[in-house]
């Protein structure tokens, strides 16, 4: 979680943070924000005061990352012994806690591969790819899962294409 109250007041900045390469520059932007009173590319909100109850961001001291990681570990243990249904159940529970984690889609895709539900594996991986931003390694893993899913369906050229996407990201 990169969000802090300072950033949250600037929608613009949050959007930039989501762009590739932006994270490295985030420090720089924050400096910019501190000195600039308003957003240069968007009509200003007019400094409308926020109601007092809403100014505080409800960022918990601890985020849900630990519990998602824990559920993923547990799912791995189930996957290792071929308990696919149990693994899927754990991962979906994690997904309901944090739906933005592309890693979860990757792991669910692996479960579907294990179940030989190849078409579904490909779809789940694709959904993961729609969420992965700025993580070439994870993106490549999702492409590799896609390649396996396509092979499983007999789509050899599609599989090759997916594998090339993974290689192009530097993770062959």
């Amino acid at each position: 979680m990169v969000a802090t109250p300072v950033q949250l007041r600037h929608t613009q900045v949050r959007r930039w943070l989501a762009t590739p390469g932006a994270l490295m520059l985030s420090g720089l932007i924050l400096v910019g924000c501190a000195t600039q009173s308003s957003d240069p590319f968007r009509p200003d909100t007019g400094g409308k005061p926020e109601s007092p109850a809403r100014t505080e961001t409800s960022e918990p001291a601890m985020d849900s990352g630990d519990v998602v990681a824990g559920l993923r570990r547990e799912a791995w243990e189930q996957q290792a012994v071929g308990e696919w249904e149990a693994a899927a159940g754990l991962l979906e529970r994690a997904l309901r806690i944090d739906a933005s984690k592309a890693e979860l889609y990757h792991q669910i895709a692996e479960v579907r591969l294990g179940q030989e539900r190849f078409a579904e594996a490909e779809q789940v991986a694709a959904k993961g790819l729609s969420l992965v931003a700025d993580d070439p390694e994870l993106e490549a893993s999702l492409w590799r899962a896609t390649a396996q899913a396509r092979s499983g369906q007999g789509d050899m050229s599609g599989a090759r294409e997916a594998r090339e996407r993974a290689c192009a990201l530097g993770y062959c």
Partner: protein, 754 residues
């Protein structure tokens, strides 16, 4: 010779009768076994996960614990107790056998801070990664029965009620074999003399047969069948079984389209209490209702009802069911009917669960005894919906000078990632079953259909910055009719950028765009978005001249919130058989139907709707840093006000209008959006924008749609799919088509994006 003929005819008649009896016998056994020996499926809500970071406040957890029947207690020494101290809740959970494993009962210490769980620990201080409360029991479902019931067993029914029922309806029930010869003779005589078939003369068994198997019309043929079936029923089943089924089947009331069958449900419906706790006078009222549920309806016709009740009480006293003292006491009592019909807690949601079960299961599977159904209902979301929507409607009515109770509403809350239906509101009085507007009200969606037009345009190579014409437009439809949509403000807006035409919900620009892109393409997009029916292929559908239910809108919008992946909306997570385990699990289902980067652009445009467009009031209605996306919808003469939108992993669709389809003074922005905002505030979703596809870039664009330097006045960042933006940088005032050659610009802004 004649005698021989007669014998032959007689023999034939007998054979036909025997075959007929065999047939009726099969009908009787099938129907009765199906009704009687099914144990209802128990239905549960989603369970609350407890972990550090869970976005739920101490207040909300306390409400949930109260709903679950936990007791606030100074000593948390047994399951089902809790103690709240400021921002800390100590709770002894009950544990539960979930479909995916058992959750042990355990003592937990929950620390909250700023509206979230901060820490979960055991009494010895060690941290707990993840625990869950038991789910909320939300009702029972009787397989093969479309109505809700509260089944009662004979032992739990008050003896006075059983004896009283027999005394009033069928004095010889315990002696006869299904029919009463005297009764039939008397009825026949009455019918012959009056010339019509009105007299009953039915035994309890016959009444039951009539309820279970036969149509209500009064013909001799039906009467004959009824008698035969009553005999068969008595031959197969004992008196207790027949009586018990009767008690659960008898029709004693009506509420809209919902019929109230059985004394168990009747007790709750009329008195708000379970059957075993009813007093004598209340029991007598229920029995009295059998004769005429509508005529003696105690809510509508209290005078008649009290007379009828007292007649029943007199029969009871005469038959020795109650004493003289009981009689005198009971007849002095008021009707004691509850003001509001007591209900299953979440009738609209249960309705959805029932329908999904009916779709996905063979009846035989459902007849299995004692299934457990784990649903997606989130009790806190549902409670918020039930509290916020009626309150907001009342406020809107006051603001717009409407009569209190004028407006109706329906709402659906879902989880975009999984398609879970978290909460459902079928009307502003959520406790009432009956017309489920969320599923069954088909209302024109107005501008809610526009995103489909813009998505079709993006698929055809338009960008968000493509200028499009908002000039007046006339379309000749295939049937020769002219269609002339006009903007809401009756003015044209020149050539807005594509995203601005959506953000401001321009009708003319949208109609032109749709016609240019092609009606077939737009309809294909509507279909892929998940609208499960073919709207008529006329251009006006692009502006929402087509009725959809809030649930259908939620499904359609779900595909947008889900990054272009279709996920069927779902109310059931798993169905568990007591011996065989999980019968069915509804696991994650995603199906890619649109390129995620194109949907990303649409999402950004819908986000702009909440910043600058028709939903800009959300900037003050909700915390300004929340990332929201949504669309308003308003139909002709303001008959329907819609808002559909999402944030993080919560989506809500709201419809506000009037049942009679009369005009209102409300638009999507003033009628539905305030309700939506209140719902979202209560849901408190994760408010972050989710990640963006790798091949999207943000470029500064001027008012004409040309990519310019970010230093130009009025330049604003617009997302493009890489390679689709016009090449090079233009002068600040350039039009979309006039590109100047790669003006060198090495500001930090450009370095960020290139």
């Amino acid at each position: 010779m004649v005698r021989w003929r007669l014998f032959q005819v007689g023999l034939l008649g007998l054979a036909v009768l025997v075959v007929w009896m065999f047939y009726l016998n099969a009908v009787v056994r099938d129907g009765f076994d199906g009704q009687r020996f099914s144990i209802p499926a128990r239905v549960y809500s989603e369970a609350q996960d407890l972990y550090a970071g869970a976005p739920v406040s101490a207040d909300r957890v306390e409400i949930l614990l109260d709903d679950l029947g936990y007791r606030s207690s100074s000593r948390v020494n047994q399951p089902g107790r809790y103690r709240r101290t400021g921002q800390t809740i100590e709770v002894h959970t009950r544990g539960f056998e979930f479909w995916d494993g058992a959750e042990p009962a355990r003592r937990l210490l929950l620390d909250f801070s700023q509206g979230s769980v901060n820490r979960v620990s055991e009494p010895d201080g060690s941290a707990v990664l993840l625990a869950r409360l038991d789910p909320l029991f939300i009702g029972q479902i009787y397989p093969g029965v479309s109505e809700d019931r509260i089944l009662v067993s004979l032992e739990t029914v008050p003896p006075t009620l059983v004896a009283g029922l027999i005394a009033v309806e069928d004095q010889h029930f315990l002696d006869h074999h299904g029919i009463s010869i005297v009764g039939i003779a008397r009825a026949l005589w009455a019918n012959v003399t009056s010339g019509s078939i009105e007299q009953g003369g039915s035994t309890l068994t016959q009444q039951l047969v009539k309820n279970l198997y036969l149509s209500p019309d009064q013909t001799l043929w039906r009467k004959a069948n009824e008698a035969l079936m009553a005999l068969l029923l008595e031959a197969h089943y004992d008196k207790e079984a027949i009586l018990e089924t009767y008690l659960n089947e008898v029709y004693i009331g009506q509420q809209g389209r919902r019929s109230i069958n059985g004394f168990g449900l009747g007790a709750q419906f009329f008195f708000g209490s379970p059957l075993p706790s009813l007093d004598i006078h209340q029991q007598a009222m229920l029995v009295g209702l059998i004769k005429g549920p509508s005529y003696y309806n105690p809510r509508r016709n209290p005078e008649r009802a009290i007379q009828r009740r007292n007649v029943v009480l007199r029969v009871w006293r005469e038959a020795g069911v109650i004493s003289q003292a009981d009689y005198e006491h009971a007849t002095r009592q008021p009707l004691d009917v509850s003001a509001v019909p007591g209900q299953a807690s979440y009738p609209a949601f249960m309705d959805l669960v029932r329908r999904q079960l009916a779709e996905g299961y063979r009846k035989e599977d459902l007849l299995a005894e004692g299934l457990t159904v784990f649903t997606t209902l989130n009790p806190l979301a549902q409670n918020s919906l039930e509290q916020r929507v009626p309150a907001k409607l009342a406020e809107i009515e006051r603001q717009h000078g409407l009569q209190a109770g004028d407006l109706e509403a329906a709402a659906v809350v879902t989880r975009p990632s999984t398609g879970d239906v978290l909460a459902l509101l079928g009307g502003r009085k959520p406790e009432l079953a009956g017309f489920n507007r969320a599923l069954d009200a088909r209302r024109p969606v107005g501008s809610l259909m526009k995103p489909a037009v813009y998505l079709a345009a993006l698929e055809q190579g338009y960008t968000l910055a493509t200028p499009i014409s908002d000039a007046e437009v006339t379309v000749t439809a295939e049937d020769g009719k002219l269609w002339q949509p006009r903007n809401y403000d009756k003015t044209s807006h020149g050539t807005p950028l594509l995203m601005d035409a959506l953000v401001n919900s321009y009708n003319q620009a949208t109609a032109r765009l749709g016609m240019t892109v092609g009606l077939a393409e737009v309809f294909d997009v509507i279909d892929r978005l998940g609208v499960d029916e073919r709207p008529p292929a006329v251009p006006s559908v692009m502006l929402g001249a087509h009725g959809l239910s809030p649930m259908q809108v939620a499904q359609y919008f779900q595909t947008i919130a889900g990054n272009g992946f279709y996920t069927p909306l779902n109310a059931i997570r798993a169905v568990v058989h007591p011996e065989d385990g999980v019968l069915q699990r509804y696991d994650l289902s995603v199906e890619n139907r649109f390129r995620p980067e194109q949907v990303f652009l649409l999402q950004e445009a819908l986000h702009e709707v909440t910043r600058q467009g028709t939903a800009r009031s959300l900037r003050w209605r909700l915390p300004e840093h929340w990332w929201l996306a949504g669309k308003t919808g308003t139909t002709d003469d303001n008959r329907d006000a819609w808002f559909a939108g999402y944030s993080g992993d919560r989506q809500a669709v709201v419809w506000v209008g009037r049942d009679g389809n009369e005009p209102t003074p409300l638009t999507g922005s003033t009628g539905a959006l305030p309700v939506w905002a209140d719902i979202m505030q209560a849901l408190n979703p994760v408010q972050e924008r989710r990640g963006q596809p790798a091949n999207v870039e943000w470029l500064p664009v001027n008012a004409q749609g040309a990519v310019v330097s970010e230093r130009c006045d009025g330049a604003r960042p617009v997302p493009f799919i890489k390679g689709t933006a016009p090449n090079g940088r233009s002068r600040c005032d350039a039009g979309a088509d006039t590109q100047t050659e790669g003006e060198e610009d090495d500001s930090w802004w450009q370095r960020l994006f290139n």
